[in-house]
C-alpha cells in the first residue's frame, strides 16, 4: 500500500534496536486499523449492493426460475422473459410514457424557474434574501402527503384532475426549493471576477451571463436537472393521488401490486431501478455541493 502514511514517530537513531521494534509495532497497528476500515467499507458496500444484485438476478431469470424454490443467486439461464413479460403487460408502456413526460416537464419547468432565481440569490443582495431561502426550505420540509390531498380536490374542481401535466406541476413545486438552492450554489462557485471581466470587455450583463457564467455553471445545472428527474421518476404518493387513468409507472405498479405476480414485481423493480443507477453515477460529484448548500 503505497499511499499509507507512516506513523509520525521521530526516529531518534536508526541504530537503536528499541526504536526499531516500536516503529514496527506501530506500523502493524496502522495496517490493522486500515484493514479494519476496509472491512467496514466493504461490508457496507455489500449491504448496499446485495439487494440490487438479487433483484437483477430475479429480473434476468425466466418466470419459472423466479417462482422456483430455493432460489439461485445467479440467473441460470439468463433470460429476458420476465422483463419482456413486464414490459408487455397492459398499461406499462403508457405508464412509462407518462412517467417520462411528467419527469421531463418537471425538469424543464423547475430548471427554467430555478436558473434565474438561483442566480439572483447567488449574486445579488436584496432585502428579504434570507427570508426567501428560509421560505423555500420550509416548503421542502412540508410533507407531500399533506399537499397532495387538497391539491387533488382543487384539480378536480378546476377540471385538471388526472392529467400528467398537473402532476408535473406538483413535482416542480416539490423539487423547486432544492433546485433553486443547488443552482444558486453552482452560480456562487463561479467567480464574480469572470463576469466583471466580460463586462469590462464590452459584454452586456445578459451577454456576460450567457457566454461566461452559464457555460461554467452548466454541468452543475445539468446535475440538478438529473436530480429533479430522479425525484419525479421515483415519486409515488402525489402521483397515485393526482392521477387515475393516466398513472405514472410507480403509481401504476403500486396500485396493482397486490394483484401482481412475483416475476412482474421483480422485473418492475429492476426497470424502475436502472435509470436511478445511471443518473446517480453522473451526478455523484455534485451530491455534496447540493446537500452542503442545503445544510447551511
Amino acid at each position: 500500500m503505497s499511499t499509507e502514511a507512516l506513523p509520525n514517530i521521530p526516529a531518534v537513531s536508526p541504530k537503536e534496536p528499541m526504536w526499531d521494534a516500536q516503529r514496527r509495532r506501530a506500523l502493524i497497528g496502522v495496517r490493522l486499523r486500515r484493514a479494519g476500515v476496509y472491512a467496514v467499507a466493504i461490508t457496507i458496500a455489500v449491504w448496499v449492493l446485495l439487494p440490487i444484485w438479487l433483484i437483477a438476478t430475479m429480473a434476468f431469470s425466466t418466470p419459472q426460475d423466479v417462482r422456483a424454490f430455493p432460489k439461485a443467486l445467479f440467473p441460470n439461464p439468463i433470460s429476458l422473459d420476465s422483463i419482456n413479460f413486464f414490459l408487455n403487460a397492459d398499461g406499462i408502456i403508457r405508464a412509462t410514457g407518462n412517467s417520462i413526460f411528467v419527469a421531463l416537464l418537471a425538469v424543464v419547468l423547475s430548471t427554467l424557474l430555478a436558473v434565474p432565481a438561483g442566480y439572483a440569490i447567488a449574486r445579488y443582495m436584496f432585502p428579504g434574501r434570507d427570508a426567501v431561502r428560509l421560505v423555500m426550505l420550509s416548503v421542502r420540509a412540508f410533507p407531500i402527503v399533506v399537499l397532495a390531498v387538497p391539491l387533488a380536490v382543487i384539480f378536480l374542481q378546476l377540471g385538471l384532475f388526472d392529467q400528467p401535466f398537473t402532476l408535473a406541476l406538483m413535482h416542480t413545486a416539490l423539487t423547486l426549493p432544492t433546485t433553486v438552492l443547488v443552482i444558486s450554489s453552482v452560480f456562487a462557485s463561479v467567480p464574480f471576477e469572470f463576469e466583471e471581466a466580460a463586462q469590462v470587455f464590452g459584454c452586456t450583463p445578459l451577454q456576460a451571463f450567457a457566454r461566461v457564467v452559464l457555460p461554467l455553471a452548466l454541468p452543475g445545472i445539468a446535475a440538478s436537472a438529473i436530480l429533479t428527474f430522479v425525484l419525479s421518476w421515483n415519486e409515488v404518493f402525489a402521483a397515485i393521488l393526482l392521477t387515475l387513468s393516466n398513472r405514472t409507472l410507480p403509481a401504476h405498479i403500486l396500485y396493482n401490486l397486490d394483484k401482481s405476480s412475483d416475476p412482474f414485481k421483480f422485473a418492475a423493480a429492476f426497470v424502475m431501478l436502472v435509470p436511478s443507477l445511471i443518473f446517480i453515477f453522473f451526478i455523484r460529484r455534485y451530491l455534496f455541493n447540493m446537500w452542503g448548500q442545503i445544510n447551511k
Binding site: V37, P51, I55, P70, A141, P143, P150, V236, D258
Partner: protein
C-alpha cells in the same frame, strides 16, 4: 345559529385542506321575513325538522309560457339546530305537507346548499379502528429507523473520510440508494423476505430450517416491522450520509489533527470533536428524516400489502382512494394530523437543541 360558510371553491392549498377537513356540505332551509324568495332571512332550519304551520298565503307563480299556477307560502315555526324557536315564511317546495290548504304541521325536505363547520371527519378518523395502530406503527418505525440511520450514516461518513483507496467508488456505491424509490426498495426487501424469497432459500438450502418460514403475515408483526426498518435504513441512510459527509468536510482539519496529536482515541474524537461540530448538520438531517419518516408509504405497501399493517400515509391514501373509501375529507384530516405531528417534532428538536446550547453557555 349554526355558523354556515359561503359555498365557494378555494384554489389555495392550506385553506382548501382546512375546508375539506372541518366542513361538510349540507342543506338547510332559510326562513324569510316575507313571502318572497329574496326577503331577509329570519332563521334557518335543518332538514327533516317538524314545523308547525301558523299562517299560509296562496300566490300565483308565472310560468315561462305565460300561464299562472297557485303556489303556497307558509309561515312556520320550528326548532333550529341550536334549540331556539324560529319563525318565518317558506315556499311549499321546501316542505312536505299533506294537505296544502288544511294541514297544521309539515316537515322540512329541502333548502339551500351550505357548508357548515363539523368535527364529523375528525371524529370519524379518531373512531376508525385502524387509526390507533397506524399512529403507533408510524411512531415505532420512526423511533427504530431514525437513530439507526444516523449511526450507519456516521460510520459511512467516517469510512469515506479516512481516505482509503477507492473511496470514490465506495462513495458512489453508498450514494446509490439516494436515487432508489421507496417502492423499489420495498420490492427488493420483499424479494428477500417473502416466503419463497432469498433468505428462506438460504436457510432451507443450508438446512437450518426444514420448511420456509413465513416472515410476512399478520401474526408476525415484529418481523414485518423489522423488514420495513431494514428496507428504510437501506434506502434512506444515504441522504443522511451525504449531509453528514458535507458537514464533516466543513470541520477544519486542524481540530481533528489536534485530537490525534494529543492521543485521543477514535471514540473520544467522535464524542468530543466530531459530533459537537457536526451538530448543525445532524439537526438538519434529523428534522428532514423525521418528517420523511412520517410519510413512509410505498415501502410498507410493497412489503406488507398495506392491509395487515398500516401507517398514517397509507390510511390517508385508503380514505382518499376513489376505489375504496372515497372520502377526501377524512384523508385531509389524516394529512393535517401528519403535518401537526411533524411540525411538533421539528419544533421539539429545535427547542431541545437550543436549550442544550443555553445550558452549555450558562
Amino acid at each position: 345559529m349554526r355558523p354556515s360558510l359561503p359555498h365557494f371553491h378555494c384554489p389555495y392549498l392550506q385553506p382548501q385542506a382546512f375546508q375539506l377537513a372541518f366542513t361538510r356540505e349540507g342543506q338547510s332551509l332559510s326562513l324569510r321575513a316575507e313571502a318572497l324568495p329574496d326577503a331577509s332571512v329570519t332563521g334557518t332550519l335543518p332538514l327533516q325538522t317538524e314545523v308547525r304551520v301558523i299562517d299560509r298565503q296562496q300566490l300565483d307563480e308565472v310560468l315561462p309560457n305565460g300561464a299562472t299556477r297557485p303556489v303556497f307560502w307558509y309561515y312556520v315555526s320550528g326548532t333550529d339546530a341550536n334549540g331556539a324557536t324560529v319563525e318565518g315564511w317558506v315556499n311549499q317546495r321546501s316542505l312536505f305537507i299533506e294537505n296544502r290548504r288544511t294541514s297544521e304541521t309539515a316537515r322540512v325536505t329541502g333548502g339551500e346548499a351550505v357548508r357548515e363547520w363539523t368535527f364529523d371527519h375528525l371524529n370519524r378518523m379518531l373512531a376508525d379502528f385502524r387509526f390507533g395502530t397506524a399512529v403507533s406503527t408510524t411512531l415505532l418505525l420512526m423511533v427504530l429507523i431514525v437513530p439507526a440511520q444516523f449511526v450507519l450514516a456516521i460510520i459511512m461518513a467516517l469510512v469515506l473520510q479516512s481516505q482509503i483507496r477507492g473511496s470514490g467508488l465506495f462513495l458512489y456505491i453508498y450514494a446509490i440508494p439516494l436515487g432508489i424509490s421507496d417502492l423499489v426498495a420495498g420490492i427488493l426487501w420483499f424479494a428477500i423476505f417473502t416466503q419463497r424469497g432469498f433468505l428462506n432459500s438460504l436457510l432451507v438450502s443450508a438446512e437450518i430450517i426444514e420448511l420456509p418460514f413465513i416472515f410476512i403475515q399478520a401474526d408476525h408483526m415484529a418481523w414485518m416491522i423489522a423488514i420495513i426498518v431494514l428496507a428504510e435504513i437501506w434506502r434512506a441512510t444515504s441522504i443522511v450520509m451525504v449531509i453528514v459527509v458535507s458537514g464533516l468536510q466543513a470541520i477544519p482539519r486542524d481540530y481533528l489533527e489536534a485530537g490525534e496529536v494529543f492521543g485521543a482515541s477514535l471514540w473520544q474524537r467522535l464524542r468530543h470533536i466530531i459530533l459537537p461540530l457536526l451538530k448543525p448538520s445532524l439537526q438538519v438531517a434529523l428534522i428532514l428524516r423525521t418528517i420523511l419518516a412520517f410519510q413512509v408509504f410505498a415501502v410498507v405497501i410493497a412489503i406488507t400489502g398495506g392491509d395487515i399493517m398500516t401507517v398514517l400515509s397509507n390510511e390517508t391514501f385508503r380514505w382518499y382512494d376513489p376505489a375504496r373509501f372515497n372520502n377526501p375529507s377524512v384523508a385531509a384530516v389524516y394529512a393535517g394530523f401528519i403535518m401537526l405531528i411533524s411540525l411538533a417534532i421539528s419544533l421539539f428538536y429545535m427547542r431541545a437543541v437550543r436549550s442544550q446550547e443555553e445550558a452549555v453557555k450558562a
